[in-house]
Structures are given as structure tokens and as C-alpha cells.
Amino acid sequence: MDLNLFWFVLLGVLLAGYAILDGFDLGVGILHLFVRNDEERRIFMNSIGPVWDGNEVWLVTFGGAMFAAFPEVYATVFSGFYTAFMALLFALISRAVSMEFRSKRESRAWRSFWDVSFSAGSTLATFLFGVAVGNAMQGMPIGPDKEFRGTTLDLLRPYPLLIGVLAVATFAMHGTLYLYLKTEGELQRRLHRWMWRSFGFFLIVYLFATIYTLAEVPLATRNFQNHPWVWLVVGLNILAVANIPRAIFKDRPLYGFVSSSATIAALTFFFGVALFPDLVYSSLNPDWSLNVYNAASSQKTLAIMRNIAFMGIPFVLAYTAAIFWVFRGKVKLGHFSY
């Protein structure tokens, strides 16, 4: 595997890791306003309290890795999506500080304000991630100088908006499954009903988006003919999706959570397959696309960064696992909670 391909795959892994991990805590945020009383809202926030910032680091690292490995892509996408990125940053900041600040004061108005800001921030961030993926799938107006040639409104086409909704539906379901794992008693029984609903919502959007993609987005399947093994992942994806209702029915929540994680990983994988070998597909002229070769750093830098990644990743995985282990089990509101 050459270095450019290695970095393409590694970015994919980081993105999938981010989507799975931050996916559930964004999902918890999306669902936050659906519970009414203060204690349940605190349980929701504290279920993700110790882990959300670690999860968000996957995004930061994804951004850093893209900057290092494919600086042209980083520059083009971030400056091209300027307004969208500002909105995303706004959303991410809102949810981060909302969690930190919300329970610091007793006042009802104070808490309601941060509740809304937390939930709205989580929903908006998720939606914008979906819009970004949708735009990448459809291609963007990129000129021969590798600069974005459109306006913010060009990014809000129907397909990206649909993928935005799909992202919200997916993370909401993922978050419900996570919450079911972390709660008990009456709240957990209610979440059992939510799991069915959120799965139903996800399924509808998912089927619709799949049909739309196959019909309207030529990029999606362009690599399927040359690489028939991709069909294997299609099969695994269908199994993973089908497993979610089975797990809910059998009341095996961890199994369901793993299945929805696998679903998210598979969707990220399809996204990568659709793009390869490009990172940003130019809708004006395919030759102007930014691919893994013309947008990459030098071979030397890619090699150095690969070594850094190999050094760092075992540690990252080890202490991520350790943290989740320390904070396993049901949420108990205590003195150190939000």
C-alpha cells in the first residue's frame, strides 16, 4: 500500500471512529429536549459527561491529519465551506459549553437556556456533518486552481440536505441505544419505546437516501465494478441494520449498540469507496478534482506522519478503552456530576 493510500484509509478510520463515538453523544444531545424533568436531563448529560470531549478529539485529529497529509484538501474544503464551517463551530462550541455550564446554577431559566443550546447545537452539528458528506458525494464546483468556485447556497442542494437528515436520524438512533445501556428503571423502559421509534425513523430515511443515492449520485457506485469485494461490505451493512431491531426485540442493548456502530462504520466506508481516489470531486471537470496524489504532502512528510500515527495510535486506543471501562455501568448522579 503506498503512503497516499495509507493516509486515505487512515483518514477514513478516524472519520469512522469519530462518527461512532461522537455519534452517540451528539445523539444524546439531539434527544435531550425530549425528556422533561431536570433529573432525567442531568442523567442524559452525565451519561456522556466523561467521554464526550475524548470523542470530539477524533474530529480534531481528523482535521489535523487532513491538514498534514492533504493540505490542499484541508485548505479548499475549509475555505470553500466557510459559512457552513462557522455554523458548525458555533454549534460545537454551544454544546460543549452548555454541558459545562448548565448545572452550575439552580435557576430554571439558566438551565433551560443551556438545555436548548445543548440540543440545538448537537442537532445542527450533526446535520451539517451530513450536508458536508452529501456535498462530497455529489461533487463540488472546484476550479483548476483547486479553489472552490461556488457560494454557500450551492451547498444546500436537496441531496446534501437529505444526507443531513440521515445523519440526524442515524445519530438519534445511536444515541438512544447508548442511553438505554446507561439508564435503568422507568426511564429505561421509556427509552425502550424510543428505540423502536428512532429505529423506524432511521430506516425510512435510510431506505429513501439509498434509493436516491443509487439513482442520482453516479459517484456512489463507480468503484464497485473494479472492486467486487466491496459487495461484501454491502452484505455486512444489511446484516448490521437488520440486527438492530433483532437486538431491541431480544432486549440485548449492547448487541444493538454494536450493530448501529457497525452500520455507521459501513456508511463511512461506502463514503470512502465513492470518493476514491478523489478527496474532493470537481463537478465542473473531473480532471480538476483533488485526489490522494495531487493534494498530498510530500512522501517524506507522509512517512514521518505515518510513524507518528503508529506510535500514537496504540496509546490512544489503550486509554480510550481504559476510560470507557472506568466509567462503565449505569449513570449515577453524584457530587462530581454536571
Partner: protein
């Protein structure tokens, strides 16, 4: 700029929490545990702000400085990615244990987590300073391509990491951070002592911070001198601007203690100069001339007035910190410090000054590098995004000013609440630390800030040896 209000406290406070927890493990004195818990809460609020504003910084390179990103991605991006992999995961992962894990893990594991968080903060500063120092003194790279397609590529990774200014600037940043944290802790502790609340806790915190602050303010003096000597070789334009040195001259070069540089007239007015001192500081020799701005093409001059003033105020503050901490240390050694109420009040109100010094340090560093974004290679005005129009930038600036103003206000409110609430008592098995408990209970009752039987109170932490007391 706004972002940098938070990381220095994170770095410095991390170190302080580690030492308090170490003292707790060693002495088993619950006061140290109370202190560590209290400062951890402050740390957490601060950390959240640092993360939220830090994400903005990272994305900004792409959104607003796209041309810069294309030019330096090969080099600069590597340092940022390394920061993500080595520092952020470490910091954010173990922060969970530090903040939420008091009753989930043993004190030793908790101490380990505190060390990891502090280490992560230091790692993070290392990679950020590497990236920024490379902008100041680029090394270990070559330029590939022509014109708009030109970009820097790494040729020697370690030369890039240890470029001529990295080590000096890193030390300076760390010293500044620890100094800030020391003053932060001293300020709040002094306030508690003055109000007669949680006095034992406050004295222990104050003393720990005072030791740190004294060492760091002296270290800043020594290290700052070395750094300026280096600067004369690596970035003469910056040094000349910092000292408002317009003409090179022939013999010794004077040093302005204060003054008002006039760029068009090329002289310093209303100033006080000490003859030969700058020559001495740079070359250890009163006669050797220091290169002035006349050796630099006019279009490559940094803004002289701003560089001069921010640098001089920072140095003045540094000298003030030395004086304050030395006086404090002498009195503490004599045992009379906590009776000098006026001095404690000075420590209370001093808290904005180290923040100011840290900010001015960055102003000096960044303004002194202008008009370059990468010294000698890429001009700041050429580094902007081409796909972004002015109205978008303006919109985002206005938005961020509003958000940051709001966040800053909320941060102050929450911090104020935390400080007013004060440290929480550690519940130890009955009859063990009766003296400490009675004192704290009295204080709690006196302030009305919650009660010891608060429903949220944690179960007793494992504290097997506290019975010794």
C-alpha cells in the same frame, strides 16, 4: 488571542494539581485532597473553554488562511496532527478520570490521571510552540514549486521540530503558564484568607503557589535574557522593533526603559535610555552595536510602536512579579505573611496582570514577526483564503466577538460561583478529623453555601490512613 486566556491556566494548574495530589498521597492530610478537588473544578471549567475556542483555532487555518495552509501544510500540519495524536487524546481522556473519577478509582490511579492530564497539556504546548516557532524561524524544509504553487516541504523533521527558536520559546510559554497559575491560585487563596474562610486549605494552596511563583518569576528573568540574545541572531527585525532601535550606530547601543517610538521620525520621544545596556544584554559587552531597523528594508518592518510597548509592559510586569513573590516568600519564611492584610489584598487584585503579561508576550511574538506570516518566506497579506469573500469574514468575526463576549461573561459568572462556594469538605469516618470537620462545618454554616448533608454528597472516599490524625 481569546483562546490563549485559557490554556496557560490549564497547563499551570495541571502542574499544581499534580503537586497537591502528591502531597496528599505523601502526608494523607485531607486538606490537600480538598485543595486538589477544588482546583480541579476550576480546571474543568477552564478546560472546556480552552477546548471550545481551540477547535476554532484549528479550523481557522483552513477557513481563513487557506493559502497559508497550502503553503505550509506539509510542515505545520504535521505539528498540529502530532498534537492531536499525542496530546489531546491524553488530556481529554484522563481529564474524565480527573474530574469525574474521584469516587471511581483509587487515589493513586487518580494521581496518575492528574499526571497524564498535566503531561498532555505540556505536550500540547510543545507541538503548538513547534508549529509557531517554525513560523518564526523556519528550518528543516525546502521550497518546491514556483509562484502560487510554491510550498514548503519537510527535509529534516528534527531540524523542523528543533528550529532555532523552539526550545527558548517553549520554556518561555511554560514559565509564563506556571506563573499565571501561581498568581491565579494565590489571588483566590489570599481572598479566602482575608475573608477567614477555609483558611487551612487556602494557606496550603497559597504556599504551594508562592513557591512555584517565586521560582518561575526568577526563571522568566534568566530565560528571557537568553531568549533575547538568541533573537538578535534569528530575528533581528523583531528585536529592533521591540527595542525601537531605528539606527544601528557605531559604538554601544542604549536600552530604553520606557518611551514612545515615532516610526515616521524614526526616534523615541519621552524616553529614558540607559547607555550601552542593550549591547550588554545581547552581547555581554558594552561596546558592540546591535543591528537596528536601518538594516532591514522598510517594507519588512514590523509595527514598531506596538512591538515596543507590548514588550516593555510585559518585562515591567515580569519585574513586578519578581518583587511581589520575593517579598511574599521572605514574609512567608518569617511566618508573618498571612498577617499582612494589605499584601494579601495586593495578591488578590493582581490576577489580571499575569494574564496581561501572557497576552502581551504573544502580541510581541506575533506582531514582531509581521509583515511575515512565515518569517522571510510568506507575507501575511498573501496568506488569506481566496475562496472567502470579505463579508463572510466580517460576519464570522462579528459572530465570534458576540459569542466570545457571552462565553467570557458566563465563564466569569461560573468561576465566581465556584469561588464563592469554596472548597467542599471531605467526609471522613466519624471522629477521625474532628477538628478539621468542626472548623469546616462552622464555616459552611456561616456562609450558608450548602450543607454537609447535601443529598449530592459523595460516599466517603477511600482514606484508610486518615485515622492517624
Amino acid at each position: 488571542m481569546f483562546h490563549y486566556l485559557f490554556p496557560p491556566l490549564t497547563i499551570g494548574l495541571g502542574g499544581l494539581i499534580v503537586s497537591l495530589e502528591a502531597l496528599f498521597l505523601k502526608t494523607r492530610d485531607p486538606q490537600y485532597e480538598i485543595a486538589a478537588k477544588f482546583w480541579t473544578k476550576i480546571f474543568a471549567v477552564n478546560f472546556a473553554m480552552g477546548v471550545a475556542t481551540g477547535i476554532v483555532m484549528e479550523f481557522q487555518f483552513g477557513t481563513n488562511w487557506a493559502t497559508y495552509s497550502r503553503f505550509v501544510g506539509d510542515v505545520f500540519g504535521s505539528a498540529l496532527a502530532a498534537e492531536g495524536i499525542f496530546a489531546f487524546f491524553l488530556e481529554s481522556g484522563f481529564l474524565a478520570v480527573l474530574v469525574f473519577g474521584w469516587d471511581k478509582v483509587s487515589p493513586k490511579t487518580h494521581f496518575f490521571a492528574a499526571c497524564m492530564v498535566a503531561l498532555g497539556a505540556v505536550f500540547s504546548s510543545i507541538w503548538i510552540v513547534v508549529a509557531n516557532s517554525w513560523q518564526q524561524t523556519p528550518a528543516g524544509f525546502h521550497i518546491v514549486g514556483q509562484g502560487a504553487a510554491a510550498r514548503a516541504e519537510i527535509t529534516d523533521f528534527w531540524a523542523m521540530v528543533f528550529n532555532p527558536s523552539t526550545v527558548h520559546r517553549l520554556l518561555h510559554v511554560l514559565i509564563g503558564s506556571y506563573l499565571l497559575a501561581a498568581f491565579f491560585v494565590m489571588s483566590i487563596s489570599a481572598w479566602y484568607i482575608l475573608k477567614g474562610r477555609s483558611v487551612d486549605f487556602a494557606r496550603k494552596s497559597f504556599t504551594a503557589a508562592l513557591v512555584l511563583g517565586t521560582i518561575m518569576s526568577l526563571a522568566a528573568l534568566a530565560q528571557g535574557d537568553l531568549q533575547a540574545k538568541k533573537l538578535a541572531q534569528t530575528q533581528p527585525a523583531k528585536l529592533a522593533a521591540m527595542e525601537a532601535l531605528f539606527k544601528t550606530g557605531t559604538g554601544s547601543t542604549p536600552l530604553y526603559i520606557f518611551g514612545s517610538p515615532d516610526e515616521s521620525e524614526q526616534r523615541v520621544t519621552h524616553g529614558l535610555a540607559i547607555p550601552g545596556l542593550l549591547s550588554f544584554l545581547v552581547y555581554n559587552n558594552f561596546r558592540q552595536p546591535v543591528a537596528g531597523l536601518d538594516q532591514i528594508p522598510r517594507q519588512d518592518w514590523p509595527p514598531v510602536g506596538l512591538s515596543f510597548q507590548s514588550f516593555h509592559i510585559m518585562v515591567g510586569l515580569g519585574i513586578l512579579f519578581i518583587a511581589l513573590t520575593l517579598v511574599g516568600s521572605v514574609l512567608r519564611w518569617r511566618g508573618t505573611l498571612f498577617e499582612k492584610r494589605w499584601l494579601l489584598w495586593v495578591f488578590v487584585v493582581c490576577i489580571p496582570l499575569p494574564y496581561l503579561a501572557n497576552q502581551l508576550g504573544w502580541v510581541t511574538a506575533e506582531v514582531g514577526r509581521q509583515p511575515w506570516i512565515v518569517y522571510g518566506l510568506l507575507r501575511t497579506s498573501d496568506a488569506l483564503s481566496k475562496a472567502v469573500v470579505a463579508s463572510q469574514t466580517l460576519g464570522s468575526i462579528v459572530m465570534f466577538i458576540l459569542i466570545y463576549a457571552l462565553l467570557f461573561a458566563v465563564w466569569l459568572v461560573v468561576l465566581h460561583d465556584k469561588i464563592r462556594h469554596g472548597p467542599d469538605a471531605v467526609i471522613t469516618p466519624a471522629g477521625t478529623t474532628a477538628h478539621g470537620l468542626a472548623e469546616l462545618a462552622g464555616l459552611r454554616a456561616g456562609t450558608g453555601a450548602g450543607s454537609l448533608t447535601h443529598p449530592d454528597q459523595p460516599e466517603s472516599p477511600q482514606n484508610p490512613q486518615s485515622g492517624k490524625q
